[in-house]
């Protein structure tokens, strides 16, 4: 183990501060390196205010929303292997996924419940931020980004709702898109763009599939990047009350 840790390959993979590096000790210097030298952790600053790590202050809601997004991405990629977005195949694919794919039912369940959980956690995160007055200067704009993220989360959940192509999906989406069809002036056009046709059909399925697995995740990742970046730039999370 020692000689392996001393090898050039090992030291080139694990940067200074990695706990897998030879001679790692719990020093302030290494604690800083752990954050700075990790592509994942360096979203964080090296140090945060002491109250910022109190679970009772943040309830971890923002971080959990992000984590649920990752969980949804992982389970969603799994589901994509077994799903074809056409009216004739979609429902059968889901049925076969549940019936004959190893862990298919479990992963689909996780994707579904994590999605509902994410809507709840994003919503609660917003409430938490409001009650702490954390949207006040200099964090006004990050609040706006946050409302956009909430909207995108709802849209992601809603576009995913149609994909199983069962009675629940079809009619829930019918109710939802009928409401959007009442947009003033452009109502019919809005509805046509959303559905890809005059009624919900296989075109709608393809359209919402692309929105769900590609476009909306792409957009939400960009807004999440801005959101996290602004948290840092605006001086970390807001102070205690």
């Amino acid at each position: 183990m020692d000689s392996m840790q001393a090898s050039q390959a090992w030291t080139s993979i694990f940067r200074p501060g990695s706990i897998f590096r030879k001679g790692y000790t719990d020093s302030p210097r290494n604690r800083s390196y752990v954050i700075m030298n990790s592509v994942l952790y360096h979203l964080h600053p090296v140090k945060v205010k002491r109250h910022a790590v109190k679970v009772s202050y943040t309830l971890c809601l923002g971080g959990l929303s992000f984590f649920l997004f990752i969980l949804l991405t992982v389970t969603g990629i799994f589901l994509m292997f077994f799903y074809r977005p056409t009216a004739t195949q979609a429902w059968d694919d889901i049925y076969n996924l549940q019936a004959s794919v190893t862990f298919g039912l479990l992963v689909r369940n996780m994707h579904r419940w994590a999605a509902h959980l994410m809507v709840i956690s994003v919503f609660l995160h917003m409430a938490r931020v409001f009650y702490h007055g954390a949207y006040k200067p200099p964090r006004e704009f990050n609040w706006v980004i946050g409302v956009i993220l909430l909207t995108l989360t709802l849209l992601l959940s809603f576009t995913g709702y149609l994909l199983p192509w069962d009675q629940l999906a079809l009619w829930a989406v019918t109710v939802g898109t009928n409401m959007m069809g009442f947009t003033p002036v452009f109502g019919d056009q809005v509805r046509f763009v959303l559905l890809g046709s005059l009624e919900i059909s296989t075109d709608t399925l393809l359209r919402w599939y692309v929105l769900h697995v590609l476009m909306l995740p792409f957009v939400i990742v960009i807004f999440m990047a801005i959101h996290f970046w602004r948290v840092r730039k605006d001086g970390g999370i807001s102070g205690p009350l």
Partner: protein, 268 residues
């Protein structure tokens, strides 16, 4: 003058005294000839200015001696004054202009003191901080683990709904939107669809985005924000109650039912 910090004044005072002392010594040394004049200011510099490492001083001393020897040999036939000219040039600062020398034999002077606030804004105030690793990362890891465990367990015991194949000719009764839109669907029973489906949610989102710009109250203390907190609570409760009614208290024909009487008409 009063704005110059005490310790800097003290340091300048000490440096001035030392320079005066060296001025007297340096004048004596300038009169003495040959290798002695060359080595004594150096040894003094090494004792006063500990910043120059010993081995560097040794190296420069030997190099200088070598140069002196070489030039001595070259200018052997030149008149006697040449030798003293060669020896004095390597140490111009100490012997030629001793009035400008600083504490270490260098030529530094305190010209002015620039206070930190005048050219750069120092915002950092000392705060109680902890390292993200391990304090925050451990919490995040545990939280992520708990949520994963919860989702996994819930998924093992509760299956996601998969009803029969979609059929556009068979409208289920009731037809409900996803739960987070059931508040809007509930509004549909009270208002025109354009108001309930577009205007109210649109305005809601718009006002939500404008919240930080409308709320000009700088305080974050709950006791100073009674109005804002009340308004938000009413707003959140408004949607929560609508969603609850739409989810659990609406049956066939979207008519009001009690779930404990007529059962649930709700799928997640």
């Amino acid at each position: 003058m009063a704005e110059i910090p005490e310790h800097l004044l003290k340091r300048a005072q000490e440096a001035r005294q030392r320079a005066d002392a060296q001025k007297g010594g340096g004048a004596d040394e300038a009169e003495s000839a040959g290798s002695e004049a060359e080595s004594s200011p150096l040894s003094q510099a090494s004792s006063d200015g500990p910043k120059i490492p010993e081995h560097l001083l040794d190296r420069s001393k030997s190099a200088r001696a070598q140069a002196a020897g070489a030039s001595d040999r070259a200018s052997a036939d030149v008149a006697g004054g040449g030798a003293s000219a060669v020896t004095t040039t390597p140490v111009p600062a100490a012997s030629a202009q001793p009035e400008h020398t600083g504490p270490g034999g260098g030529t530094q002077r305190l010209l002015t003191v620039v206070k930190s606030g005048s050219i750069q804004d120092v915002k950092a105030t000392p705060t109680d901080k902890v390292h993200v690793w391990p304090h925050l990362l451990v919490i995040e890891f545990v939280a992520a683990l708990l949520v994963t465990a919860f989702t996994l367990l819930f998924s093992i015991f509760v299956n996601a709904p998969l009803l029969e194949l979609a059929n556009v000719n068979e409208t289920p009764n009731p037809s409900k939107a996803p739960w987070y839109f059931l508040g809007l669907q509930e509004l549909l029973t009270m208002f025109h669809p354009m108001v309930a489906g577009v205007t109210i949610p649109g305005m809601g989102l718009f006002l939500l985005m404008l919240a930080p710009y409308m709320d000009r109250n700088p305080s974050k203390k709950p006791e100073d924000r009674k109005f804002a907190i009340s308004l938000m609570t009413v707003h959140l409760m408004f949607w929560a109650i609508l969603v609850l009614i739409g989810s659990f208290f609406r049956g066939p024909g979207f008519n009001f039912v009690f779930p404990w009487v007529d059962g649930l008409f709700f799928d997640l």
